[in-house]
Symmetry: C2
């Protein structure tokens, strides 16, 4: 089966021009086919403040009201996405920026109101694998921002980690997918205070043990849950780490398999 790389980059890479350029060079140099998923970093909060909009939060999660969604459309869908695309084009990568509304590629629904109304936050229902596969076969690298839609005209702010894993699952019928989560840390750490304590390999058995031993910290739990969800639904392999993920001969990151 043809191989496909899906890479999610964290906000801290988007924010740092030097790191972003370094990453984009590594991405452009990777073999096709490949997909990038990005958030918008702190720029959204910065633009919000300048526009006089106070970010609304509940238990550490952002509440997306109409003005916050407009900022997300501007910063994720416009500023960040188009700059990444133009830079990749200069590096010889035929990038095409997308939200989940474009080509109806990522269908979602507004998160149901239970305790809280998170506003225009989307939970993914599924992806349009056919169009994405067609684009990949045309030599295009889709660059997804963290926006989806409900097919009724409403755009929705959606977690970029989730978008990456849903894309990976949805494309795993047609491709042998490796999913990369690229962020500021070297990988999953045995000891959060020791950057060198990267756990090189995690499988379903050691994942259960790491959780029961309390070694996986709070912040990492939903990320690993996403990873194993993807693996259980057809994704071949997940890798977690920093830019070293893409440097050849450097095995210093975490690889997850079933």
């Amino acid at each position: 089966m043809e191989k496909l790389s899906i890479i999610k980059i964290g906000g801290n890479i988007i924010e740092d021009e030097t790191q972003l350029l370094q990453f984009l060079k590594l991405f452009a140099a990777m073999d096709n086919p490949k997909i990038l998923v990005h958030g918008g970093g702190k720029k959204a909060s910065e633009i919000s403040k300048k526009l006089g909009i106070e970010p609304k939060m509940h238990k550490g999660r952002r509440i997306t009201d109409e003005t916050a969604l407009d900022v997300a459309l501007m910063v994720y869908g416009g500023l960040a996405n188009k700059k990444i695309v133009a830079r990749l084009q200069s590096l010889g990568c035929n990038a095409l920026g997308m939200s989940g509304a474009d080509g109806n590629t990522i269908k979602a629904h507004k998160r149901p109101v239970k305790e809280m109304d998170y506003g225009f936050a989307g939970d993914v229902d599924g992806i349009n694998a056919d169009l994405i596969t067609n684009l990949l076969h045309l030599g295009i690298s889709p660059i997804f921002c963290a926006l989806t839609h409900d097919q009724e005209g409403q755009l929705l702010n959606t977690n970029a980690d989730t978008i990456a894993s849903e894309l990976a699952v949805g494309l795993s019928d047609d491709f042998e997918v490796t999913l990369y989560y690229c962020f500021e840390m070297n990988g999953v750490l045995r000891d959060v205070s020791d950057k060198g304590s990267v756990i090189k390999k995690i499988d379903s058995t050691s994942y259960q043990k790491l959780m029961s031993d309390g070694i996986i910290s709070n912040g990492m739990l939903p990320k690993l849950h996403n990873c194993f969800h993807a693996l259980q639904h057809g994704v071949n392999e997940v890798r977690i780490g920093n830019l070293a993920l893409f440097e050849k001969g450097n095995p210093n990151y975490t690889t997850l398999t079933l």
Copy 2:
């Protein structure tokens, strides 16, 4: 030869939610294949002001410095483009939003500095007809915002009328193209103060006469120049008017042919 419609909508339609929705319904109902080109209207100036950026102008033309380009990326590439795409999806039209950087579809260069430096303003060099044709054949309607790139990583603010005519010319080898300029007026008027004085048909001969008789006003000159440039380079027909352009059996607009 297969028919293709390319429609440019003016700022006043983007600004008015009711008119925009009315237009999008008409666009969605048109037969495929079709392409939409839009600007961003006054929203860019509104966002600029809120961000404390004064729009810079020279002889009525906008000067695009780095902050003004960022606003164009946010408003044209993000806010306006994604909202149009999501709305079209809800109307059953498989829209995909693009700048000229996406898929390297519209190549341009920064306008050379002569008397004035217009900043990051782009003059179009050519289009990537192959990718656009492939997308059209996949049933996609590309929705272009008024942004291009120089293939060296720089995005450029570009006149939407020009983008529409360059797309029309570039695709006329593969399609029988009709180019629509949809704006607030009924068409080209014989008497600017009389909305009913639409000139129904203009060809190369009557165009020369209308110019020498001084009937075509200043604002309309560059628009008609664009139209005849397109006709001389393979475009089948150009139509100028308001939403009546798309209502069946309503011939109240201007049709231009060679």
